[in-house]
Symmetry: C3
């Protein structure tokens, strides 16, 4: 699937990629054109990919990409059809190459392309408040409402029967049907991802989107960041309360309930029918199973299997927590 929102500035010549990384590699057809940068699994023979951890060995073994940014210690895991581009820091180099393909995905400066909704094709189709702004590449289904001062920046698709509150900012987001987003939310900005550098950090690109599925509700003042290389996803019929923060690449399943002021750090995956109590926090890169219940105020720092109730900081089995704290 091509990226729905960020324009791919490829194809790019191999010579341009090599030059950007300050490398000098001879055994390559420098004039060959590369179409896109993708992960190990999604890549096809005209793409460049990246491989930075042994964890992804199996995917590396069978990648179809013809180029792969990696390190010396990992290069032998790649198939013969894939040429290793050896670098010092795979993620920094991948970030540079991704930025070359998708230069629009790095900065989230305000969208200068917007128009007042009453100057757009949505004028007679949408029920809207005062001072509503609409950017380029926006589509809105039937029977939708958009509140006062809300800014639908570029790259937003809204389904049918949706209600967006007032004072929201939404960009790079795909909203399915019958979704409610309450007042003062910010949805679809880049995540808190960058390479720390003395004096001047360097941001990495966020080419993912936010996907909010059918029948969800997002509470007031929530922030939902878009993904970096994958998408941030809120599953069908999942409800978020006020002041919740969902970081980049997080995926939440169906029918889940997330209470007020919860925070979920980057790339964690939450199952279906999960209940998370108020102010609980979930660290990054975790897997929370289906039917899990997490008590209010908990701090979850490891994976939680299906059908488990946990509480505490760090979160443990809830019966144990309550017994210890009688």
């Amino acid at each position: 699937m091509p990226n729905p929102f960020f324009k791919n500035h490829g194809p790019l010549k191999i010579s341009d990629l090599i030059k950007l990384l300050n490398l000098n590699i001879e055994n390559l057809n420098h004039d060959k054109e590369i179409l896109d940068i993708k992960d190990l699994i999604s890549s096809t023979e005209n793409d460049i990919t990246f491989f930075h951890s042994k964890k992804y060995k199996d995917a590396a073994n069978s990648t179809k990409a013809s180029l792969c940014i990696t390190i010396e210690a990992l290069k032998n895991e790649l198939p013969k059809t894939c040429t290793a581009i050896i670098v010092d820091n795979v993620l920094v180099s991948t970030s540079k190459i991704t930025s070359l393909f998708y230069p629009d995905s790095i900065n989230d400066d305000f969208d200068q392309s917007v128009n007042n909704i009453n100057e757009t094709k949505f004028k007679d189709k949408v029920s809207y408040g005062k001072n509503v702004l609409i950017g380029k590449n926006v589509s809105i289904g039937i029977n939708c409402k958009i509140g006062h001062n809300t800014i639908i920046e570029k790259n937003v698709i809204i389904g049918d029967d949706c209600s967006i509150g007032s004072n929201c900012v939404i960009r790079n987001t795909l909203i399915n049907n019958n979704v409610k987003i309450l007042d003062n939310c910010v949805v679809g900005k880049h995540g808190f991802g960058f390479f720390p550098n003395k004096n001047k950090n360097s941001r990495y690109p966020h080419i993912g989107i936010v996907l909010i599925k059918d029948n969800c509700e997002i509470g007031c003042g929530a922030t939902i960041d878009r993904g970096s290389m994958s998408n941030t996803i809120i599953g069908q019929n999942t409800y978020l309360d006020n002041q919740v923060h969902i970081a980049h690449n997080v995926k939440i399943g169906e029918n889940s309930i997330i209470a007020g002021q919860v925070g979920i750090a980057g790339s964690s995956i939450i199952g279906d029918n999960v209940k998370i109590g108020g102010q609980a926090g979930i660290s990054g890169h975790l897997k929370i199973g289906n039917n899990v219940e997490i008590g209010g105020g908990s701090g979850v720092i490891k994976d939680i299997p299906d059908n488990t109730k946990v509480m505490g900081y760090p979160a443990k089995n809830i019966r144990e927590f309550l017994k210890e704290n009688k």
Copy 2:
């Protein structure tokens, strides 16, 4: 007291109520009209009430309502003047009936009735910023200020000498005198209350209001939800810092101090002269006494008696907490 803000669509015939619940009850005068739905204590003989837990047995024994939504196991607690309407789930059925009386209390779509303040009667009375919007059924006292882009939606009463910041959204709220509400607050939206249902949750109505008494200050980015069957109340001279979340039906006493990022879950009652440190969380349906001090970061999961200092997660006596954590 009649509901100050939500229009009661009653009286409704008993036959309509019974039909909505898909019941078939014969021993009833189906043409009789019911005026309102109220709790067990407030109901009069022309009202319908509900009774879902043995905890409320005493109130049930003496209710004056002529109809009561309940379950088989509880029906014998009702007086003879009150006919039991037996259902599978009391709260779901109560929600349906309430929605029939108060259909406007379920959705919080943006208020389409608003006008720019300079087209209203407040034009010469209030000191206001740019792009201020005012809905129907709003009254504002003397010497008030309303900041830029703020939306006073329908059903808001503001007393004298109040200062509302910029970018706020306020609805269904009664604000007394000399209250300050700082920038980016959302006050009076429905609470996070719904009946979870696979594929599509059903919201229950919120017919309560937010009541903010004299001399309060509400910090930036705060969210205060209105009540479901009762009101959310902030007592006189209570100060809230930034990013505080107050859920539906919460009642906070006088002279209390609530620091930044605190969250108070639904229906908890906080006393007078209470101090709550930053980021502390209080679970729902608790009673926190007068003169209580709760340390920053605490997680309170049970009632706290008057004159107590607590800290920790779960919160315990502060001396004990500090001794254990030396």
Copy 3:
């Protein structure tokens, strides 16, 4: 350095100061004019200062101020050139005197002086969205962007190459170069500082500013309060994630990384190269050293020395925390 933003209404006669405090002091030249109120160290001979705790004895010994608000028990620490003004509560009296010099620093009512940016000198210099408002005493460097509905109230200096998001409110703030402030932030309002009083608290003045140094990024929905007697400072190249709260007088060093929903209470000082995980909280008046790492969800209630990793509530050495919680 004179206060960059709040107008000093001095000089004020000693008789006016004495009268405000309801005092009756004879050994003073009541007609002498006092220029300003400052801390013990910064004061010069035409200033009044205050001294409320033995902790500041050394500074008191050598203050150059000619007047000092203090208590009986401390007055002998002052040099002969400094006359003690004996009061019951030093901080309350200091607050009153400060308010007399800086009456504009107490209330943060919305700024009525603003104009739409297209009616200002920034019209052709800044890239701006719809409905951007600019107050008095604002300067903006080259190559800056300001998003929709953002309000730059009075007393804001913005350097070059800055990007301000949409729906922000900024006042009393000095922003250096290449700073990004994302959507829905509130920067520069007064802190949560007041003297609790039955029935009506009294606010103390906040004459400090917010200073955001080069290359910082401030996430969506953040709140950064200005200082009371000193400034709130975000050091160079420090990044804040979404929904972070920084209270008054906090000073954060360079190259620090503050994750989502972190809260830092008043007057704490954070070093350089500090990493703070999501939802962590730091109590007021603490000193966090350089190169400190604080795990997500931690509650820090005492100073942390340089080069330390901590986690837990209360936060302790991270190895100890993880061992205890295996």
